[in-house]
Structure formats: C-alpha cells, structure tokens
C-alpha cells in the first residue's frame, strides 16, 4: 500500500519533470540519465534512514511545487541591497534558481576571480566542464539527481592559482513566485592551488507563496587553498529548502563552513566533505534557531578516506515553539586513514515543551591510530546560571535572553570576518527580542 503511493508520488513528480525536460538547455542525455536515477531511488520517505526525522514525502504531499509561474513582482536592486550581509562584497543574484546578471555586482572583483553563470560555464569553461557533476554524485541522493536533471542556472566561481580575493563573493538566492514551485540552482566553486576565498550564500524569500529550493553546490578545494564558505538561511515561513553541498578537499587545504539556519518552514542541509589527500583540515560550524512549526535538519558527513587529516565540528541549536531540530553528523574513518583527528559536538537548548530535538552523532571507524570523539547534550537553560542572574536583579526574560544569546555566541565567535559577525549578531538580537 505504502509502496504504491510512494511510487505514484515519484511518478507524478517525474511526469511533471519529464514534460519540462525538453525545454531545458544543456546536455539532454545527462539530464535524462539523472532523471532515471531519480526514478530508481524515488522520493525519500521517513523509512529511509537518512530522512527518518524529516519526511520529504510529506512535503510533496502538501504541495507539489511543480507549477511554473511568474515572479510576484520583479526583484529590485533595492531588495538585493536589503539582503546585504557584508558591505563591499561582490554580489551574485539568483532569483528562482536563475542567475540575474543585471542585479549582480561583480565589478569590484580582483583579477584572478571569475564569476559567471554555470549554464554558460559548462559549455565554455574547461575547468567548469571538468568538475561539474563529478563532486555531487547523482546516484547517492534523489535530490542531487533531480537537481542535475532539472537545473537551469546557478553560478560558477573560480579563483586562480595563488590569488587572494580580498572581498567576499556573496551569492544571493531569492525565492519569489506567485504559485508554488520548485527551483534547482546548481553552483560550482573551484579554488585553485594556494588561493584564498570567502563565499557567502544567503537564502531569502519574498512573498507568502510556497517554494522549494533544491540547491546543489559542488566545491573543489585544491592544494593549500583556503576557503571560508558561509550559508545563511533567512527565508520566510513559506519557503522550503533542500540544500546539498559536496566538497572535495586536497592536501594542505583548509575548508571552513558556517551554516546559520534562522528561517524557512522546512530546511534540510546535507553537507558532505571528503578528504582525498593527506594533511587536509576542515572546520564545520552550525547554528540553528527555530520556532513556530519549523523543521531544520542538518546532516553532515566527513569522510576521512586518507591518513593525517583533521576535522572539527560544532553545531548548536536553540529550539522553541513547536519546531523540530535534527542533527546527524557522520564521521567515517576509512581503513588505513591513520593519524586522523576528528571531533564533533552538538549542543541543543530546548525552550518549549512542544519542541523536539533528534540528534544522532555517528562515528564509523576502521583504523586504530586515530583520535575521534563526539559529544552531544540537550537540555534546558542552566538553572544555576538563571538563579545567579535573577539574584543580581536581572529580570527573568532578560536573563533568559542573555543565556540563550551566550549559548549561540560560541558559534558566531568562530566567524573570522568581522562584517559577517556583526550581521549575525544583529540578526540574533532581532530573532531573540
């Protein structure tokens, strides 16, 4: 019975997608193959271990997000201005999954940094061609396959060997439609040997219409490169997001990722990092603040496939209202990946009796000379700390705010860029007032 309805759902989505397929540019056979992969895997249900706590099937049942409609109103440069995170950043604007050059501001980019539409890049750029669809594997997840089949646009960011980009590249994703719909932006970031780059991806929505953004970002970090990758999710209550980021990191590189989930009705982040050469380092930071009926699910995979790499992960959550927060961190240490250091921490504060936290920090280790640990804790606000503040005349509400703020601050403090940090502090103050 269940299998029947599940198949029907997949078929319904497929028939909609197939009809649209003919109108899409690019490699038609690659799109077709990806759609076949999607058919093979089907829409994940809560019976899939990786989607146990967040039911994509239910999401599609609510509304299929299949309509193709016009934007509520044209997104203006004023809107984009409002979404500024770091003043002075180069801006790439993607509205409903389509790269809009007119709204983007790329004139300040230094030499050695290339930013262009991915649709053009996969045709004209040798590097984009080389890496496109090689880092995110269609057969590993139905949403990646769906994106490969359906994506229309997105951005390709490339930084040349030894180059340093002194301003962040801000990719502004905006969802704004008049009927429920799905977008499939596809991005590719390639940092060449010894380069240094900061990329901010922000996700916003305009209007009350249900949208699903199924974004896939592939990241290639070459030897000795340094890449700070921020994802700031501040969408409205009608926005749904399926965010997949796949990273391959080479020797001596340092990839740091910062994920801030402050908005959206349904947010799922898949972050997969694999180390393919020795002496690679990666730091993963995440903060989710949820309330209402929101669902935020963070899945991370760090794959230590070779020896002498280091990964460190810190995810924290403040969970209020009737919201649900999910964390699943996987660390794989493959056979012979000796001298691996891998740490993982997940901490949550529950502020409401109706809120739920599901966490699963997972270690799979096949080598013996390693240092791996994980820890997770979930609880209410520290009563002793509360008492301390109350005894000194701080009102209950402010004391609570102060403690929650301090809890969240630990993640924000790890952000190296002062402008982004200031933005986040501001946003947190706003969220918690």
């Amino acid at each position: 019975m269940n299998v029947m309805t599940e198949n029907k759902l997949t078929e319904r989505i497929l028939s909609g997608s197939e009809a649209k397929l003919v109108s899409l540019a690019g490699n038609a056979s690659a799109r077709k193959n990806a759609l076949d992969e999607f058919r093979r895997m089907g829409v994940p249900t809560k019976r899939h271990e990786d989607y146990k706590y967040i039911n994509p099937e239910g999401l599609f049942r609510l509304g299929e997000f299949m309509a193709k409609a016009n934007v509520v109103r044209p997104v203006t440069s004023h809107d984009v201005e409002e979404m500024t995170i770091a003043p002075g950043a180069a801006k790439v604007v993607i509205v409903n999954g389509i790269f809009i050059p007119e709204l983007s501001k790329l004139d300040r980019l230094p030499a050695g940094v290339t930013v262009k539409s991915i649709a053009d890049a996969v045709v004209s750029d040798a590097i984009a061609k080389k890496y496109h669809s090689t880092i995110a594997n269609d057969s590993s997840d139905a949403f990646i396959a769906w994106n490969t089949a359906m994506n229309e646009s997105g951005v390709f960011i490339h930084i040349a060997k030894g180059a340093t980009c002194n301003i962040p590249v801000h990719v502004v994703h905006i969802a704004s439609n008049e009927a429920a719909s799905t977008f499939h932006p596809r991005n590719l970031i390639v940092a060449e040997v010894d380069s240094s780059l900061n990329v901010i991806e922000s996700f916003d929505s305009i209007g009350p219409v249900k949208t699903l953004t199924n974004v896939v970002t592939e990241v290639m970090v070459h030897k000795g490169a340094k890449l700070n990758h921020y994802r700031i999710q501040t969408e409205g209550d009608a926005a749904h997001q399926m965010n997949t980021t796949c990273v391959v990191a080479e020797s001596g590189s340092n990839y740091c990722t910062y994920t801030f989930s402050f908005g959206g009705a349904w947010v799922r982040n898949n972050l997969n990092i694999s180390f393919t050469q020795e002496h690679t380092e990666s730091h993963l930071y995440g903060l989710y603040v949820t309330n209402g009926n929101r669902v935020v699910d963070n899945h991370t995979i760090v794959d230590h496939a070779i020896p002498n790499c280091m990964s460190n992960e810190l995810y924290k959550g403040v969970v209020d209202g009737k919201s649900t927060a999910v964390f699943n961190g996987k660390i794989f240490v493959r056979r012979d990946a000796q001298k691996t250091n891998a740490y993982q921490t997940n901490r949550n504060i529950l502020l409401s009796d109706d809120a739920t936290v599901n966490t699963k920090p997972q270690l799979e280790i096949y080598a013996d000379d390693v240092k791996c640990s994980h820890g997770t804790s979930t609880g209410r606000l520290d009563e002793d700390a509360m008492f301390y503040l109350r005894a000194r005349g701080v009102g209950e509400a402010s004391a609570r705010k102060m403690l929650v703020r301090a809890f969240a601050e630990e993640v924000v403090n790890n952000v190296p860029d002062e402008a982004i940090k200031a933005y986040l502090d501001n946003r947190l103050n706003h969220l918690m007032s």
């Binding site: 502020l351 936290v357 640990s373 997770t376 804790s377």
Partner: protein
C-alpha cells in the same frame, strides 16, 4: 624475545575452550518451520490450548514479516529458516528432585562448564549461593535450590513448568513487554520457543541468592529459542545471571531468545549476562547468530532495572537490552562490555524510553575491537512529551586493537520535553604506546599489559557484575583478546 614469542604463540593457538559436544540422546523435531511444527512443539510440551493459540498467532504474524537485513551494521548471508530444527531436547526426562537421576553425561557437561551442580549443592547454607536453571538446546534440564526459594514464596522454574503451574502469572505477563508483533525474531521466538526460565519474586521479598540460568546449544542443526520472564512484584529485589556457551561447529547456529522483565512499584531487577557463544574460527567459519530481544519495564514508581552484559562470543550479536521507564522516579541502567575479535560482528546497545516523571537512565558502553571484527554501539534515548525532569547520561567508548577492525557508534537521541537533560559522549582510541611502555618497564610483558589495560578500561562495567561473574568475565576478556596484538 624468545619468551615473548612463546607466549604469543601459545595465545594465538588457544581456542574456544567450551567447544565440546556432549553425547546426550536428543530428540529432534524435523527440520523446517510450519504450523505443524508449532503444534508439534506445543504438543510435546503438553501445553494448554491458550498457549498454542498464542504460538499460532505469533507464527502467522511472523509469516507476514520480512527478515530485517539492512539497518544494522552487520553483514551475513540470509538465514534459511527451513533448514533449522526448532526443537531438540535431551531424551531422558530430567528430574528436579534428586541429583542421582540426572544423566551423568549432563553432569559432566556442567563440570566442564565449571558450574557443577554437585558443587552448587554443597554450597547450600554457605555465603555464596547461586540457584541455577540450566537450559540445554532450549529445554530446561535442572533447576537447583527450588525448595529453599519456595520457602520465601519465590517461584523459579522452567518456563514450561510455569505454564502448567502458574498459568495466571504467565498469561498476565508473557508478551506484555515484548509482544510477538515486536520484531521478526521476537515473533519467531513466540511461535517456537521451547523453554526457558520463569522467575517471580512476591511482594516485599528480597531474593536471598543470585538466580542463574546457563544456556547451552548442544545439538547441531538446531536453533535455540528460549524465553525468560522475570517479575519483581512491589518492593521485591532479585539479581539474575545468565551464561551462554556452545560447541564448536562449522555451521552457523541461530539463537533467538526473548527476555522480559517487569518491575512493579519499588521493585528492582539486576540482570547480568556473560555471553560466550561460540564465535566461529579465525576465518569466520561457524559461530552463533545471536539475535536476542531483551526488554524490561519499570511499571511502578521508584522501580529499577539494571542490565549488565559482557559480550565476548557469537559470530554475530544483535541485541539491545532496553528499559521502558514508565513509573515515576524509575531508573534504568545499561552497562556493557562488547569484545569482538577475528571475524566477529556485534551491533549492540540499548534503548531507554523515558515516559514517567523524574526518570533517570545511565548508559556505559565499552567496545573493544580486534582482528578483522566490527563492533557497533547503537542506542536510543527517547524523552517522551510529559516525561518531566528526565535525565540521561551516556558514555560510549571504543578501543581499537589493530588496523583491520572497526568501531562504530550510532546513538539516536530524541527529546520531546524541555525539562529533559541528555548527555552523550563517545571516544575512540587505541592502547597508548606509553601505557604499554610503562608496564614493560616494570617487568610486565606486552600481552599481560594489554590484559591489564583492557580490564582497567572495562572496570566501570565489570564492577557492576556479581563477584562470581566478575572473575569469569575478566578471564573471558583476556581469552577473547589473545593473539590480537603482536
């Protein structure tokens, strides 16, 4: 150097010491599983109609289920359920009254196991007393100390005896914690279980001795399906021990048991297991598939259930002793040492389900992997909505010996109430060279140093075991890890 090699050589060549076969006349059911077999087992045991009905219901449900294969971190060929004999019993009717009537071969078996009934008998009146119920090929053959226990009103007998003599208790409690619909192997067990132990501690009684069950698979081509049911009524206390061994065979044998524990108001049950089923040889040939469902319910307030397990045997271990914390202020504990060597695979852990108010649970799990084995901890802590002030602490440590083994942790934590506090921490490490160097310097050779360090690493769990078991467990740890370093 020569000395060290000699010791290593000796250790590497040491084999499973419980791998003997006892020559007891055994009665088999024909291989295969169908309703007739279920009826055959029930008839053999002269069971009342309601028991047969229960078995048949379970069997029919089992037919609708699928063998679980994909979720656990285990890899093994599918079990052929039609190639197993579901009933094997020693032919000579065992008696419960006199030691002289026990089959001498059986007595020898127990002597080999080191739990001679004769010796146990001589211990009557002495300080260290253990009442033993021995189960061979899933039929209970001998229960000792029955009279002493009966004086206190404690019922400790084989499951089939209890079906006849205490049907009201069995009907009330059987399947109340692990219903036959629970999982594939619980359904199978409910349909074909041949025997097991039943224990009931009446109100306010503190059981004066450790109760113990020894399980042994003896015949080839059989599965062992026993059921244990322990009920501690209001204010009662019992400490229960379980030991398991099996002969060495080239084939894989199936062991699918069900253990149910009920602790009423103020009741306390402490359940300790030393599991040493035959793990298979160095190449992973043979060994027991140990697929066990163990669950307890703290039904009344202030009740407590504590699971302690030392898992060293079995080719594959799949078990999650769990506690449902339903009563207010109830406590659940899980202490585990799981050792895997050679080609063994273990996927074990616990579930702590917090439902009542002010409930507490502690999970201490120590995994040791050596050889080419894989050892996983899989646990669930769930704080239900309304489970006010629930508290959990979990610690899962893994020790890796050698670079071909694996240690994995899969902790599921689900929190639906803001007053709950849950902490989980896990570490993975190997034995430090500095620790070994320290021991070597003081004249302790490497092999012994490892034994010392491992015992220290497991101390938190071993301390929970009753004294007799703790000694056995320490020896077992040393034996299981022999030859894993060098």
């Amino acid at each position: 150097m020569a000395d060290k090699n000699e010791i290593l050589e000796e250790h590497i060549s040491s084999e499973y010491k419980y791998g003997f076969v006892t020559d007891i006349d055994t009665e088999f059911a024909p291989k295969g599983l169908n309703e007739d077999i279920v009826r055959f087992i029930s008839k053999k045991k002269n069971e009342p109609e309601w028991m047969l009905e229960y078995r048949l219901k379970a069997f029919r449900h089992w037919l609708t289920m699928e063998e679980p294969k994909h979720w656990a971190h285990l890899d093994y060929p599918a079990v052929n359920f039609q190639d197993i004999s579901y009933y094997a019993a020693p032919k000579k009717k065992p008696t419960v009254n006199s030691m002289d009537e026990v089959d001498p071969e059986l007595v020898k078996t127990f002597e080999k196991l080191g739990i001679s009934l004769e010796e146990q008998k001589r211990l009557v009146g002495m300080e260290s007393k253990i009442a033993v119920d021995a189960v061979i090929d899933s039929v209970s053959v001998k229960t000792t100390f029955k009279e002493v226990l009966a004086e206190k009103g404690i019922i400790f007998c084989s499951f089939s005896e209890a079906v006849h003599e205490h049907p009201e208790l069995i009907r009330q409690y059987m399947g109340s914690v692990v219903p036959y619909t629970d999982n594939y192997y619980a359904a199978l067990n409910s349909a074909v279980f041949s025997d097991g132990s039943f224990c009931y501690i009446p109100k306010g009684v503190r059981c004066p001795m450790e109760l113990s069950t020894y399980f042994r698979i003896n015949s080839s081509g059989t599965g062992q399906f026993e059921r244990t049911l322990i009920v501690a009524d209001e204010g009662a206390y019992v400490s229960y021990l379980e030991g398991c061994t099996a002969p060495q065979r080239d084939e894989n044998q199936l062991h699918a048991a069900v253990v149910e524990i009920v602790a009423q108001k103020d009741g306390e049950v402490k359940y300790s297991t030393v599991q040493n089923w035959y793990p298979g040889d160095k190449n992973g040939k043979g060994g027991i598939y140990n697929f066990v469902t163990k669950r307890g319910i703290c039904a009344g307030s202030n009740s407590k259930i504590s699971w302690t397990q030392v898992e060293t045997g079995s080719a594959i271990t799949w078990k999650y002793p769990s506690v449902i914390l339903k009563g207010d202020n109830s406590i659940g504990e899980f202490y585990s040492v799981a050792v895997t060597n050679n080609m063994q695979q273990a996927d074990t852990g616990t579930k702590m389900l917090h439902i009542g108010r002010n409930t507490k649970s502690t999970i201490i799990s120590k995994g040791i992997s050596a050889g080419k084995s894989n050892n996983s901890y899989r646990g669930l802590v769930r704080i239900s909505k309304g489970a006010k002030n629930a508290r959990n602490f979990s610690q899962c440590d893994s020790l890796l010996m050698g670079d071909k083994c694996g240690a994995h942790t899969f902790p599921y934590i689900e929190i639906h109430d803001k007053s709950g506090v849950v902490e989980h921490e896990a570490t993975t490490s190997k034995i430090g060279e500095d620790q070994i160097f320290y021991c070597n310097q003081r004249g302790i050779d490497t092999e012994k140093a490892i034994g010392l360090i491992v015992n220290g690493y497991c101390k938190e769990v071993l301390n929970q075991l009753p004294m007799e078991f703790a000694v056995e467990a320490q020896k077992l740890l040393a034996v299981s890890l022999e030859g894993s370093v060098g």
